[in-house]
Symmetry: C2
Subunit: 261 residues, 2 copies
Amino acid sequence: MDVQKIVLIGAGNVGWHLGHALYDAGQEVVQVFSRKAENAAHLAKAIGSQPCHQLQQINANADLYICAVHDQAIPSVAEVLAAQIGSSKLVVHTSGATPSEALAEHFPRYGVFYPLQSFSKEKAVDFTKVPMCIFAKAEEDQAKLLQLAHRISQQVAVVNDEQRAGLHVAAVFVNNFVNQLFQIGYEICQDQQLPFEMLLPLMQETLDKVRENEPAKMQTGPAQRGDQATMERHLKRIEGRADWIKIYTLLSEIIAKQKEK
Amino acid sequence: MDVQKIVLIGAGNVGWHLGHALYDAGQEVVQVFSRKAENAAHLAKAIGSQPCHQLQQINANADLYICAVHDQAIPSVAEVLAAQIGSSKLVVHTSGATPSEALAEHFPRYGVFYPLQSFSKEKAVDFTKVPMCIFAKAEEDQAKLLQLAHRISQQVAVVNDEQRAGLHVAAVFVNNFVNQLFQIGYEICQDQQLPFEMLLPLMQETLDKVRENEPAKMQTGPAQRGDQATMERHLKRIEGRADWIKIYTLLSEIIAKQKEK
């Protein structure tokens, strides 16, 4: 039988967007929990649900419990939740970095419902484009989660713990580290009194080029060409910025090595 | 008086897209030069122009000569061109990395017409979104170049040599180096037998978040949170990939420092 009633535990960035996605898909979220009564009330109101700010008052009659809490809070939430709803329910977490077994001690029917995206409450997201990484211990539960995931997203995959941990590392490279390189571009523009907007079309093109091609095949620039003169001129230009020089040197070396492969 | 007749020297990636942009804007390109007759003919045909593959046959009656050749070829092209058209013409190059003075020896009316984008012939580009960086030695010529640039692009700026050199370094960080981080994400997905497409929405969101915000303010992730446990788990997961560990360590350090600012 399909998942009918869902309890959403956590009203942070992930809970907020997931709650809205479920609501938009016509899926009933019977209760929203947040330790902060105000946050629970705010999200519950937005998605036609009931707020709750004490785990001891969690509705024990739902089909699925989604723990969208901080990674570190998962074990303690699981423990209190088990005392309240028993151990027979399907319980999932939404964490990229946490093994699914984090829930196994209390819930034999554990699983993962991980949206691979960086969420902020202030910024709307088209959830249908968010890849959903699904896993459940029991095959039957996995089928339920898949069906639910397909209702809110166009990109759904069964992803085991090993794979999800890999994706989480990859996300650090393509999100956190890329963002830091963007910051360097931003600061160079500031130094030159030019608007950062001038770099945005190039940044977008860099991304668009790898939509259908292996990034290494799209590489250009002085390191790729082995153009030492340009690289030396660039390094001279950023002298005094030791960190930028380290990044420039390291990534240029790695691009040159990549080329040899 | 406006620029009427243009000669385009070079039919590579930049020449190809610039030629099309000028043509689309209704601007007359009277001649297209490429050392390779075939390339000159191909582009000339596409934009209703005349091909030419010998610099000695360059039309001497144009208002503007755009040198869209490789950086290293600029001095030699300028020399032969001067012998053919004299020294009174407005001549610009399209290079991000080359000082405008590279043309000064032969042409007192020198300038720069630099589109800040990474072009490939195979990939269409909306040139109206390409930032045009303009400079000319003479104010009058600069006004002409600005007017012309505004006909093909919505984003036009006067950019001096110092600023353009800064942009060129910034482009390496936000394009070449970002692309190498994308490659690491790609390889992690391959290792995990997952489609790289799963990372694309996150990559797009990373970019979209900095369209209106300083990147440092949008930073998230373990380095930003000072989450040592997650970082150690990540490093363990990529052990055996020495280069990835170097990047992970360096960029995490720099993100942590950035946070303190």
